[in-house]
Amino acid sequence: MTRKKTIEKKAQTVPSDEPTNNETVASEPSSSTPNEPEATEQVSELVNGVTNLSMTDKERGEMDRQTKSKEQIKAEREAKKAEKANKKANATSKVVASPAPQIQQHAPQIPNGQTLLSTTQVSKLENKKDVTQKPPSPEPKSAIKKDTARGNREVQFDLNTTVLRTPSEETISDLPKMFVFTDLAPNFNVHPVFHTLAARCERGQVADVDDLCEEFLSAFVKFISDWGAERLHNSDADPTALGFDLDLAIRPQLGYLTEDGRWPLPYALGNLVRQLKREIKRLDEPCKHAHTKEDGTVAAELPGGCDKLKELEEWLEETRYSCFELATNSISTHLMQKRKFSKKIVTFDWCRVVNRILLDSLVGEDPDLKHIVVLDQQLNGRGVRHMDTLLDKNVKLDYGDLRSLSVALHKCSIVLIGCSAVLSNGCVAVPKGSLSIALSAQANNIPFMVCAQTFKFVDKVQTYGRMALLGRENMELVPSSLITAIVTDIRIVPPSSAPAILKAKALESQN
């Protein structure tokens, strides 16, 4: 479908601006102060660049490639006029951009987006309206420096040797890492909280997809509050277009996180974002009603209909609550019955939900009867977190890596594993190594249970090699045939009924 197509297209355009990005990083703080001689003719060209939609991406890409740097210098210099041009650009794009699929098709305009961006660096306000945005513009010398930047890739790799990788991943992770770095350059239309988020992911400080989602939500709350604040000052912001503007505003943020759609968001996060977008769209309709109905409120209303943002923030908060606290609780209560009879529980890698379940399973039981085994991809890995929480519980604990699998499964009564996504065909995306656990569990006839909150169910059937943000989180698919059951916050279901869950979710989200 269109989304995927655009992704590829973007992927093509990206290399063009990669070295320049490096450059910008190098000269980051200073580039914030533009210098201003004159060059008028450039602006008109700019405008064409944006408005002329008939042009194909390729051409535009080419055109942009030679002209970019020159353009931008002058563009920068031409702050004021550029602004006007920019307004036009938005106007035009607004016309086209209202329904979602079309927006997708606009995506390939990135290159122009860049020029726009450079113009708008001067005033943050403009950025928010911009259709498509990109990492910041280079300084003049970028054009010269390109090749050196290319030459020194490997130097850049060892910058983050701290990040642990399995050897097999190196093949894919090489190229992306450059981008991750280029993205670390402060990008003036991406909100700092997202920079922080990306950086934390980059250094593996975000454990798993759950943490990522939570952090993203909190980051987004911050972002909205700031955005709202700026909007307040913006006199000519149209209150009815609040949702639309916001939608435009978050686009660059997401673009930044996904490296311009180079990598898909992790499934669960993708779900959240989709819901979020729906909410944002929704912002507009009730807002209109409010206007038509009682006008008394209009006066009281904040400029730009910013009060609507409150709803959004509430929505975010309660999503967070339901996705994490509530879901975890209900999952662990669902499992209570099973746990009562399971003496020896085996789990793999770190998952907060599973950890919560383990802790719950110890309450009001004789610890001597319980036996918990934590396996890890390699010793002293993430599974140690489980240990730290369980150490003082006087329960019998085992820890090991996959080599000790058969010992671990000996006399084991249940295998509990957390996952990062459940696909619509019943497969689950789980940490690498779970597949062999599932196999031996099947061989020993031990129930293999997967814990997944419902927001982890996605309507997809294939995985991508690498995800945005959690690129290094190495996942593999366990087919539904090996899974005994999936424990969701709704109930314990067989993997075959994943579509049903999806349907239920859809219904729930409609009303």
Partner: protein, 662 residues
């Protein structure tokens, strides 16, 4: 097999030239805590951990080192006890000497005796505590020691430390360059130094994340130290002596640390006694673990792969049928041979000696129980040490941290006073071993305690606040170990600015090592930015700490070095110090560094500022920034005086500019 005498003699002739190591083990333990168990049952080194005599473990790990000569220093009264040990082990070594010392009162005496007899003339491995276990082969350490000896005959001693975290942590100061020991902890409090500030030189690192293994590689000179000063009691005295008058003796001590995977521990009190047996049973000291110890005429154990060990009766040796016992053994537990254990007995983290009977439904956790004990039904024993042939009535609930010496029969009704942290014996301590008090308890028991007021159980517990969990202390220690380790994840959560500074310091040093290219500069900036983002550092702080770390670099020790490096890294400065704010921050950084007592820097300060200002130099500072900073300085600060010249000069310069404007 020639008679021993000749061995000893010709080996002595040999020793002058060869550099084979000899292991010197002091078989007796002079820790008064253990007196309750030593009075009638031989020296401490024959006491059992995991049902195996301590000395056997010790010799077993020495077997894996390159050492093939062993000297056991035994007090005369214990000589006969150790004969069988010698018989058992002597074939394993080229030389195995038992040396009887006439009633030594301390380790020092034993060593003096050794020196007196002039048996050792080569380097030797000194093990002052027989209960010292490690799984390291010490190959690297010995090589280092020899290399040092070659370099300088006066490098007489290498103390071996391990990374394992142990309740009482010694703090030491070590020269970063060559691992030379310069600071040693105080006798009374291992976490303290007794030194004055000026000891804290730049290249000395203070380490408290390592623990003493009790193993030291020494040359004969150390023995000489002992025989010259007769008041030395233990090894530490000699160390302090050598450190104290370094100038006179010109002897050096070095420190070598075992690597990540090499574990080491020693037993100093009952707490470490429990810990050691846990370590052994959980294979942290592998290949030093009970089921590798094998003496067909003494003890044989099989483990069922779950760190549960069973003693094997003689006739069952080598049979494939797995030994099974009715006891529910938790992991890390051991039951000796020919024990009678009834149903539903839980044994967790404990050692039960041979021939002990345990009654129905008794629970035992973190205990060490001697041989031929009789433990009734439904008892609850936790964190206790119990000697041989002790009788415990049914349903008895023993206090935690109780120490029961041998041949006790506990009365059915609990004692009228707490025994936690005391040792309960059937006899009174001898008059001659000082440091021990006792008071009588009804039932004709004697309750022993240390006159120092410390708990019998553990070194760092004063009585009164006696009851503390065996592991709790270890945990707290472990935390700060983790924070010490750079590699640990904790640092990531630590105070952001510190982390940030640390990170960029690392990247700077790394870049220093590489040959310089402009691209490298960019990478450095990349890294700084990335850690800035990751730690949420404000632009000001970046400016400040970037420069601070920069001048902390080794390359910038001298002003010259600073100059050229700064010129080299101009890119960095032009990048960050455009805005005046950042420039001020930079100066602040300089100011802070000024505080630290290093004269050369202070002298260089004005030149540095000047250099940063002038076009000939770096030319990144601008006059207003400097002036602003100068204003911010408090009147008293010495920097003002230093800066005076420059400031004045700047002032008039700016005035001139004003004139030009008109």
């Amino acid at each position: 097999m020639p008679p021993k005498g000749t061995i000893a003699r010709d080996s002595i002739q040999k020793k002058e030239d060869d550099n084979t190591l000899t292991a010197v083990i002091v078989a007796d333990h002079y820790e008064t805590r253990f007196a309750p168990f030593l009075s009638n049952q031989g020296p401490w080194c024959l006491h059992r951990v995991c049902n195996v005599p301590i000395i056997d473990f010790t010799i077993d790990w020495i077997l894996r080192t390159e050492i093939n000569k062993i000297i056991l220093l035994v007090s005369e009264k214990n000589l006969d006890y150790l004969k069988p040990t010698e018989v058992r082990w002597r074939t394993f070594f080229e030389q195995f000497l038992l040396i009887s010392c006439r009633d030594p009162a301390s380790i020092g005496d034993a060593l003096r005796e050794l020196d007196l007899r002039a048996i050792i003339s080569s380097d030797f491995l000194l093990i002052t505590n027989p209960a010292t276990f490690t799984n390291a082969t010490l190959r690297r350490q010995v090589e280092n020691f020899r290399a040092r000896r070659k370099a300088n005959r006066n490098n007489v001693m290498t103390l071996i430390y391990s990374r394992s975290s142990h309740p009482e942590k010694a703090t030491i100061g070590v020269k970063k360059a060559d691992g030379k020991l310069v600071l040693y902890h105080r006798a009374d409090n291992p976490s303290r130094f007794d030194v004055d500030k000026n000891y804290f030189l730049d290249d000395v690192v203070i380490r408290n994340n390592v623990t003493d293994t009790g193993i030291a590689i020494c040359s004969v000179n150390v023995l000489v130290q002992f025989s010259t000063n007769f008041d030395f009691r233990g090894r530490d005295d000699a160390i302090r002596e050598i450190l104290a008058n370094e100038e006179i003796l010109l002897l050096n001590i070095h420190v070598d640390v075992l690597n990540e995977s090499e574990c080491a521990t020693q037993i100093n009190d009952y707490k470490s006694y429990l810990t050691a047996s846990a370590l052994l049973m959980d294979r942290w000291l592998y290949p030093l673990c009970p089921d590798n110890m094998f003496q067909p005429d003494e003890y044989v154990f099989v483990s069922n792969g779950q760190n549960m060990y069973y003693g094997v009766e003689k006739e069952k040796i080598g049979s494939l049928a797995g030994t099974q016992s009715k006891a529910i053994l938790g992991s890390c537990s051991m039951v000796g041979a020919s024990c009678k254990i009834e149903q539903a007995v839980k044994v967790v983290g404990s050692v039960v000696g041979d021939g002990t009977t345990i009654g129905l439904g008794t629970r035992i956790r973190n205990c060490i129980i001697g041989r031929n004990c009789r433990i009734g039904r439904g008892c609850l024993l936790e964190n206790a040490i119990i000697g041989d042939s002790v009788t415990i009535p049914n349903g008895y609930q023993l206090e935690k941290y109780a120490i029961l010496s041998s041949n006790l029969r506990m009365p059915a009704d609990p004692l009228n006073r707490s025994v936690a942290g005391y040792a309960l014996c059937t006899f009174a301590p001898d008059e001659d071993d000082e440091g021990l008090d006792f008071d009588r308890v009804d039932g004709g028991f004697y309750l022993w305690k240390l006159s120092s007021g410390y708990s019998m159980w553990s070194k760092e517990v004063k009585l009164g606040n006696g009851a503390e969990d065996v592991f709790s202390h270890a945990d707290s220690v472990d935390e700060n170990v983790l924070t010490d380790e750079e590699s640990s994840p904790e640092t990531a959560e630590a105070e952001p600015v510190a982390v940030f500074q640390e990170e960029i310091f690392d990247s700077m040093t790394r870049i220093l090592e590489l040959s310089f290219t402009p691209q490298l500069m960019n990478n450095l900036i990349l890294e700084i930015n990335s850690s800035k983002l990751a730690n949420n550092i404000s632009m000001e702080d970046v400016a400040k700490y970037a420069f601070k770390t920069f001048i902390l670099l080794n390359a910038c020790k001298t002003f010259i070095g600073f100059k050229e490096l700064a010129l080299k890294w101009k890119g960095l400065f032009t990048n960050y110090y455009k805005p005046q704010k950042s420039q001020v921050q930079m100066l602040m950084a300089i100011e802070e560094r000024f505080g630290a007592q290093n004269e050369d820097f202070n002298k260089a300060l004005p030149n540095m500022v000047h250099f940063l200002y002038t076009e000939t130099g770096l030319g990144i500072l601008e006059a207003p920034a400097i002036l602003e900073w100068h204003e911010s300085l408090d009147a008293s600060s010495p920097i003002r005086t230093l800066m005076k010249r420059i400031i004045d000069w700047l002032k008039e310069e700016s005035e001139e500019e004003d004139d030009d404007d008109e």
